[in-house]
Subunit: 144 residues, 2 copies
Amino acid sequence: MNIKEASEKTGVSSAAIRYYEKESLIPAIDRTPVGNRDIDDRIIRRIRFVTQMRAAGMSIENLRRYIELFDAQEDNTKEQKALLQEQLAVMEEKRDDLQAAIDHLNYKLNHFYDHMEATEEELRQLEKEHADKITQEDDTPDGF
Amino acid sequence: MNIKEASEKTGVSSAAIRYYEKESLIPAIDRTPVGNRDIDDRIIRRIRFVTQMRAAGMSIENLRRYIELFDAQEDNTKEQKALLQEQLAVMEEKRDDLQAAIDHLNYKLNHFYDHMEATEEELRQLEKEHADKITQEDDTPDGF
DNA sequence: GCTTGCCTTGAAGTGTACATGAAGGTTTAA
DNA sequence: TTAAACCTTCATGTACACTTCAAGGCAAGC
């Protein structure tokens, strides 16, 4: 498939795919006789892997380092493993921070009582929860 | 406290704190008679809130929009709520992507067998798992 | 044969989120 | 009283991750 189809399939722009190839985040892509990129499923998987890791907050630089190690299939499994574990730890921390932020926003959302929407039942529920939590969580009296 | 102490307390650079104030991510900070910023705990909480949301991937722009709504304490709770919910959705998707990436890496890690480290027991375990999963998960035969 | 639509490379431009530097003011310590 | 160590504003610089532009090649349809 050509680069445009690959772009549509992955949601990554053609320019970004070229950029990823240039930065060695994906392997060198095969070319047709006239020099156009001919992208197969292996490349598509790699692009998706890159997208996933990028979404997870991994920098291009770190990703390239990781992929370099992975592609050079020598006896560096120990190094790979260490790198993987290191990256995992970073990502898990990130996930936990994200969850904390989500909890924070959810808490705020649940303690919003919107006069236009809240049913009496919801209001009672919110007040009850608030009474339960006021001593432990109202260290942020300004809402932040 | 002065800006340097606030910076040390929050882990946010002095320049970034000034930038946040300029961009209205935090309220206008009180000044000492000579014009230096005098930062109190309310500002510290705001800085921490910004840090948390930034770490969660919220842009300065969105954060400012949200805080503007929040600070203008009029009857915009519906709008605030909508904005919060929008942001929550973004963050939950991000968390899920991150979890998917974590799962991906964990899978790879569990299927690494490092000749230098793996005990025979671990090796047997890995082979067993591999046999169990080969049909369902080996859609990534190249490791990506 | 010309337009359309894809592709190529390389260079330059863009947006975000700060960081850094210049020029100067204030307070403390020797 | 002079140096150190803070601070101020405003302007400019920087890193990252692309995006856009310029200039041109190839293939199909009219």
